[in-house]
Symmetry: C2
Subunit: 157 residues, 2 copies
């Protein structure tokens, strides 16, 4: 089993900009929630299918497989809930840790999330100065939640 | 896109027995229904992940990928709805067509289904003498339905 252990933060400022090139991500969900979530993702010209288990604390089972990008495009078009998640992902090294910053587009425009993937839930790391409030425990910031309740609609319900 | 076009029948008698060796199948569903169904299947020592679209008449979009059998075992154990489908599949040639007969076990014990996969919905084929009533249009006989409403409970609700 793959295991995903990650912490999520909002951004405190724009000082991270220019530190890395961004890559376009497009992803959607065939299903999300209990017992499992099935995600289709296209990064540039590569397609991936990912199965994730329920989140327990910061830890989540994860199984990822590369699939033909043509299949990924068809499945995103025909079998995933709307809206799809479109974002630019910036990957950068800070003090020996890999950080990913997602800049969301379309229905989630304006939302920025920084993530760090850890080896274990108690791992120490240096907090970059552009990282703000932690949102690891807030389910609204999950990508699968942003399909159901996009950022552009927050505070309007 | 792969496309699945199949017709399903009950069995009229046991005359097909002895025509083919059976292989054990174990499968489960991470999700089923609209817009897509995600199935995990183990055949002998091989694992597969299959995404199917909604059924339109006899036709259904299908995307299948081989995955490590260890992953398939974990996903079946932790992320699939109960009960799992366990069956023996017998594959045989009759008059130039490939037929598959599924002999269900456990919660679906007693159920036998014969399937023929077609190139197009109007394809002609010779009906074997051991094939009985067609059930292509009856959603109760779908494997994903047999998880929710197993054969052993039919007529008891």
């Amino acid at each position: 089993m793959g295991t995903e252990i990650e912490r999520k933060f909002l951004l405190a400022n724009d000082d991270w900009r220019g530190l890395a090139e961004g890559k376009p991500y497009c992803q959607g969900y065939i299903c999300s929630g209990a017992p499992g979530t099935v995600r289709i993702r296209i990064i540039g010209e590569n397609g991936f299918l990912t199965i994730k288990g329920p989140t327990r604390g910061l830890v989540r089972a994860e199984y990822e497989y590369q699939i033909p990008v043509a299949d990924a495009r068809e499945i995103l078009a025909n079998l995933c809930s709307r809206p799809l998640i479109e974002k630019i992902r910036y990957t950068m090294n800070f003090a020996g840790s890999i950080w990913e910053i997602d800049e969301f587009k379309k229905e989630n425009d304006g939302l920025l999330i920084a993530e760090i993937e850890l080896e274990n839930p108690h791992q120490q790391f240096v907090m970059p100065p552009w990282v703000g409030r932690e949102v690891s425990d807030d389910p609204r910031y999950r990508n699968s939640s942003l399909v159901i309740n996009p950022y552009s609609t927050w505070g309007k319900k």
